[in-house]
Symmetry: C2
Subunit: 175 residues, 2 copies
DNA sequence: TAACGCATGTAATACGTTACATGATTCT
DNA sequence: AGAATCATGTAACGTATTACATGCGTTA
């Protein structure tokens, strides 16, 4: 296990995968959908990244096949070693603060456009923000109806930041 | 110019570069620092990406050398074609909403930790959020003292979202 | 039985990061 | 003179996206 730092460098994908598997065992296909659903505003990964990553994590002993189902599907679960690595990463590694968010780039550059063009862009963004907010609200309601969930506070954070953005866009349009 | 879609695919780096040059002519070195300063919460790029990108943009006629200075430095400016491409991108292309934000991944996964471990992570994040907020506040004050700037609203958006995050972290620590 | 969604994989290409490499100017 | 900072570039490697490819199971 001394080669850990070498086999698992500084990628977040593997820790995102470990985290999702820590919540609940899943197939690669499930994970791909969860990246869209829960982690869409944090990280993105398609199945062509996920399957090889699961293979590497299995080889490193951090995940294991806990069940096989229809259509030759394999359900993976996290191992104790995987949980340990996840904890180590969260507690002991320096967070990489660099982001890539194309929407933020657009919101930044929109200041350079002429008023008419700016309106067009801001309106599209507002529409998207409102739709996203509605989706988050539904998620929150579903969780509350089900009696809560560990990730409920994270959904709330999303709702608050989205509200800030929605208001900002409206102000920019009014100005 | 019909090969535009082919020579300039779907990368945001080039549009971020075009945007920064639309604000003000700069050297590659300047651009690298501006990515840290103004675009840190949106996109990241080191000089080893920027210099080749400037060369490609120059070849495509979207930027041009507008001055040469000491230490064989070249200052680039945006051309009309570059401005056109920037406008086209902002108005006519579908935004790529996928993000990669390691901090967001960590904030999501922190829910899986035991309370003591969670505290450690949240405290570190709060410290960072407060420092970042202070930095943004200084930026805002500098802009206001200088009589305003097109990007002032963007700084304000950053301040508001950071405030939301700071409050959320405090709540999580109090809970 | 055809269409659709579940499920998994690889190959080619594009993009991004780190390390390597060099040289000019300014400041102490 | 030496250190720090400005300034530019390339090479090697790692990561991510897109396209290609296949097959199972369910539903209409």
């Amino acid at each position: 296990m001394s080669s850990l730092v070498h086999t698992l460098p500084r990628m977040s994908l593997r820790h995102a995968v470990l985290g999702l598997l820590a919540t609940e065992p899943s197939t690669g296909y499930d994970l791909a959908r969860k990246f869209e659903a829960s982690l869409a505003n944090a990280w993105h990964a398609g199945h062509s990244q996920i399957y090889p990553e699961l293979a590497k994590l299995e080889e490193a002993g951090m995940v294991e096949v806990v069940g096989e189902g229809a259509r030759r599907s394999r359900t993976y679960g996290i191992t104790d070693a995987g949980r340990g690595e996840l904890r180590r990463w969260l507690l002991e590694t320096e967070p990489n603060r660099s982001q890539r968010n194309e929407t933020a780039v657009r919101w930044f550059l929109v200041a350079l456009l002429e008023p008419a063009d700016r309106r067009v862009v801001l309106e599209r963004e507002l529409e998207h923000a409102e739709a996203y907010e509605a989706m988050l609200r539904e998620t929150a309601e579903r969780i509350d109806a089900a009696g809560g969930h560990a990730f409920r506070p994270t959904v709330d954070l999303g709702l608050r930041t989205t509200a800030v953005m929605r208001d900002w866009l409206r102000e920019q349009l009014d100005a």
